[in-house]
């Protein structure tokens, strides 16, 4: 990682550096080092990005080399890969899935649709920036990103986890009011989905 690349996870949504990075003890550092090499991937295939994932899973590119494997449920997954545009309706399910995931959890935004809406920039139905609603650790640019780009993101994510920088899940709890305000602007939470404000332990 060269010096002029932005260090993801060190700035919050408004460009303010997050200063209260947790001090990691020796055990935590070892655990981070280990968990960076063993992660389950939940791929939330909302858009056309899903077609890039079968080659990533299978023998052509072989995700298992990095210790990453597909997982079916959010509660057992570590990485949340959002592949493509999200309609407002889908965002509701994404946030719900994200809140079910265990800490620490990492979000990858895959494709330009997750960054600024992409080719759906003026659509009434799709949200423009996933990072306003859930914290995104790494964005993968491209329409579509090739599997090489996905693997670049995996390598980056691993190095961020080892350095203790992939703290999107921490940002979600620290800035919950900010995310909740943005979420309430586009969808309503039903009575069956009354989440208490998450507590950072």
């Amino acid at each position: 990682m060269s010096d002029d690349e932005p260090k993801g996870g060190l700035l919050d949504q408004n460009g303010i550096p997050i200063t209260n990075l947790p001090k990691r003890g020796f055990v935590r550092r070892v655990a981070d080092w280990a968990s960076a090499k063993s992660m389950w991937l939940l791929w939330y295939c909302t858009g056309c990005g899903a077609v890039e994932l079968p080659p990533s899973f299978t023998s052509r590119y072989d995700m298992e080399r990095y210790g990453i494997g597909p997982m079916a449920t959010p509660r057992q997954a570590d990485i949340f890969l959002i592949t493509g545009y999200l309609s407002v309706k889908t965002l509701k399910r994404v946030v719900r899935s994200y809140e079910q995931m265990q800490d620490p959890k990492y979000v990858l935004g895959h494709g330009s649709c997750t960054i600024d809406g992409g080719m759906y920039w003026d659509s009434y139905a799709t949200i423009k920036d996933v990072g306003l609603y859930i914290p995104v650790d790494i964005y993968i640019a491209g329409c579509m990103p090739r599997p090489e780009a996905i693997f670049h993101a995996f390598e980056k994510l691993q190095s961020m986890i080892k350095a203790g920088e992939a703290n999107g899940w921490r940002r979600y709890k620290e800035n919950y009011q900010y995310y909740r305000k943005n979420q309430d602007k586009v969808f309503k939470r039903g009575p069956d989905w009354a989440l208490e404000e998450p507590v950072l332990k």
């Binding site: 949504q13 460009g15 009434y124 990072g131 602007k185």
Partner: protein, 195 residues
């Protein structure tokens, strides 16, 4: 299945030996409807495809007439926003499996407070199409009992498929469009050189 009490000529089916309604091609079927519905016009678009313009009040009877003549596949219902003429154009596509011909029935309704009789009584499959058009264009269908929320969840704006729906303004109000995190980018990545 078409009932026996119909006054149409019937032919004997060679395989089953039963008497089934005669397959009526689109042009003849349209002529039959023209006799019964005042103010209707028909136009042949190509072989096996006839367009029919009818008054909006008679849409239910036109649909049941066509169904009686074997046009029992309700293909689609679409709505077109003719904003210059201040009209909504409703298009009902029908298909006859026997004659293998296509009829589409067009009717115009005013754009102000749009409402048209539901054809659910004739074609049950129209329920979903009418729900969608109610949501996307705001057209009301008296007689349809199921005009509830369909695709758009938590929608508060005007019907989005209308031509006068300003999509960009809606997007600007609803979703924050801004350059994300410009201070986090190194100078060579931004147009203004990092400023």
């Amino acid at each position: 299945m078409v009932e026996d009490s119909y006054d149409l000529t019937k032919r004997k089916d060679e395989r089953s030996g039963e008497y089934v309604p005669e397959d009526i091609p689109a042009e003849r079927a349209a002529d039959e409807v023209l006799k019964k519905v005042p103010g209707a016009e028909s136009r042949k678009r190509k072989d096996g495809r006839v367009e029919l313009n009818v008054p909006s009040t008679s849409i239910g009877s036109v649909m049941s007439e066509f169904k009686r003549m074997g046009y029992d596949h309700f293909v689609a219902l679409t709505c077109i926003d003719l904003i210059k003429e201040d009209m909504f154009e409703m298009v009902y596509h029908l298909w006859s499996y026997g004659a293998r011909t296509h009829v589409y029935v067009k009717t115009n309704i005013p754009r102000e407070d749009p409402s048209i009789e539901s054809v659910v009584e004739v074609f049950r499959t129209a329920v979903t199409y009418e729900r969608e058009i109610k949501e996307m264009f705001g057209v009301d269908f008296p007689g349809n009992q199921r005009l509830t929320q369909f695709i758009l969840e938590d929608w508060e704006g005007p019907p989005p498929m209308r031509k006068d729906f300003d999509s960009i303004r809606y997007v600007q109000d609803k979703f924050d469009i801004k350059v994300r995190n410009p201070k986090g980018l190194p100078p060579k990545w931004t147009k203004e050189g990092g400023k």
